[in-house]
Point group: C2
């Protein structure tokens, strides 16, 4: 409702907001630490809440589900993705547009180390994988009209083709991130993405 405390640099207006933000960060840090230390499935909500100094009930009010403790920014990812893509020039090709979106999202990560830790956790935990993929499906749906608008509706409906192109871009991102993780973060992920896409479209 209130448009205050928006930018990351902007100071929170009220003491409450500050407290909230602090608690939120504390929970997030505790969760990430425990997940990395002992694994996602082996970490219980009770433990995170205890170590973060809040009740389970409060934790669930901050983050609706356990997996949100890792993917809380995921909504922001979706936002950046759609924003970046809709900002691309009208004449740009579909693949360039999608590449720009992927690059923008990857640029959001704080550090290489954190990105690696998260991707590793993601790829090694089945339940997280599942949730992540499902959320991504929704991003794909949001992207659909944007990409469809950039395709020429010469023959037949553009929907299936647009869907396929979007899903392929994400598939290449998957292949790239998996390879990146198994290489322990060596090299640039966008290079891997390009290589994957080239292999598909060659």
């Amino acid at each position: 409702m209130k448009p205050e405390a928006e930018t990351a640099t902007g100071a929170p207006t009220t003491l409450w907001d500050r407290t909230r933000q602090l608690a939120s960060q504390e929970i997030l840090d505790t969760a990430l630490r425990l997940f990395i230390e002992q694994g996602y499935d082996e970490t219980t909500i009770a433990q995170i809440a205890r170590e973060a100094g809040v009740s389970q009930r409060t934790l669930f009010r901050y983050f609706g589900a356990k997996e949100d403790l890792l993917g809380a920014d995921q909504d922001r990812f979706g936002q950046v993705l759609t924003d970046t893509i809709s900002e691309q020039p009208a004449g740009a090709g579909i693949w360039e547009v999608l590449r720009a979106g992927v690059a923008a999202v990857l640029a959001l990560h704080d550090s290489r180390e954190q990105a690696l830790a998260r991707f590793r956790l993601l790829h090694n935990t089945a339940s997280l994988c599942a949730g992540y993929l499902e959320k991504r499906l929704r991003f794909q749906d949001e992207l659909l009209p944007l990409i469809e608008a950039r395709m020429d509706a010469a023959v037949g409906s553009t929907a299936p083709r647009a869907r396929a192109v979007i899903a392929t871009a994400f598939a290449c991102l998957d292949a790239a991130s998996m390879t990146w993780v198994s290489n322990d973060g060596k090299g640039d992920m966008m290079d891997l993405y390009d290589e994957c896409l080239a292999a598909v479209r060659s």
Copy 2:
């Protein structure tokens, strides 16, 4: 362990096997009916067990998880997929090989109606979607060596490229099935698959 009662037409040897198969089918039918009638999330395990005439404990012994009640054959899908692909001639191109695998899996469905009902349920239920996608990731991993063996290792490692190609094939299958469902099962899904793949590789 025992190689008996293999083919669908072969009569089960022992009375136990027959009872088991009967109970299993009863549970599966009840679950599918309830899922379609009132939705997946709204149907509880207790209700399925009650209407199928077994205890919850027994139900979980037959099917390890709720989502297996819809995707129990999914393991069979994976088997057919890998079998079909490894049976393809050595000279066949990667895309033809993958297409054959996809076609073989799609051919496993009993009837068009049942396939439509399942796909519809799948695409409309987030939790099911998530589980399905996660299982499919494992299929992709199993396919990886098969596809890698069919790529020329001319430049760099084949792993990321093989991953991308496999994931793309599945991405096209996704786009095709979604379109197929939103068209209420009109047309052939393999045609849609071809169209999607063509759009990606054009």
